[in-house]
């Protein structure tokens, strides 16, 4: 990730392993979640994640085609 940038064109095996190794100590349960500004694919509007979660329990899955 560091060498090729966030949107790498070639899958970086080392960075992937490092991210998994670091994750257990990152953003644990009980911590306040990040509040990124995101684009709602349906409406095209920009929304803060807090605008979604304030309505109740929210499951947030992160991913892509692969």
């Amino acid at each position: 990730m560091k060498a090729q940038g966030y949107n790498y064109s070639v899958f970086p095996p080392n960075d992937d392993v490092e991210a998994f190794a670091a994750w257990p100590e990152f953003l644990k349960a009980g911590h306040r979640a990040p509040d990124p500004q995101l684009l709602d694919l349906n409406s095209g509007a920009m929304v803060r994640l807090t605008e979604v979660t304030r309505d109740g329990l929210t499951v947030v899955e992160l991913g892509s085609l692969t």
Binding site: V17, L38, L49, V60, E61, L65
Partner: protein, 177 residues
């Protein structure tokens, strides 16, 4: 996860999907070199996986993704106060279901007047490894995605990544704070 969404939305549980970078870019689904390309890919994802959940697209730099830890397919459950109640390094609907049932039970007991104090706990999850489905995804992205992942697997099998992790950890520890 779609089934879980259908099952739990009547119980006031929201589900959203945060679309992030392509983990294994290929010839047919290349890396996101512009926000427009990311926006073009997101509907493909929705159609391919028949996603009915609300899809939120991260910015081009992955600010949201990185802030949540940067792994390719994580799941978090957040409270209405925006606190992390559950997190999982991989998405596994069976594990998420266990967490949701537990958290909904906590809400119900509190409504009934139970005095419940939070405490920290962890769980080692076990997910079903569906290599065939994963490779179908890689193939759809293009032959390059397959080749790169095969090479990564060979590298991991040889343990070559271990040296990299150790050396970068040493570098980080040697840096003055």
């Amino acid at each position: 996860m779609e089934e879980l969404h259908r099952e739990y939305s009547p119980r006031q549980v929201q589900s959203v999907f945060l679309y992030i970078r392509e983990a294994h870019p290929g010839e047919d689904v290349p890396h996101h070199d512009s926000f427009q390309r990311k926006l073009d890919h997101a509907p493909k994802f929705r159609e391919q996986f028949r996603v009915r959940r609300r899809i939120l697209v991260d910015d081009l730099d992955g600010s949201g993704h990185r802030a949540f830890g940067g792994l390719p397919n994580m799941t978090y459950i957040l409270s209405s106060a925006h606190t992390v109640l559950f997190r999982s390094a991989w998405t596994d609907s069976a594990t998420v279901k266990v967490a949701l049932d537990y958290l909904l039970d906590v809400q119900a007991r509190r409504r009934e007047g139970a005095r419940l104090a939070p405490f920290y706990s962890e769980l080692l999850g076990f997910r079903w490894v569906d290599d065939a489905a994963f490779y179908r995804g890689l193939e759809q992205n293009g032959p390059k995605a397959v080749l790169e992942f095969d090479e990564a697997k060979r590298m991991w099998a040889r343990g070559e990544h271990l040296g990299s992790v150790a050396s970068r950890r040493e570098e980080a520890e040697a840096k003055p704070s």
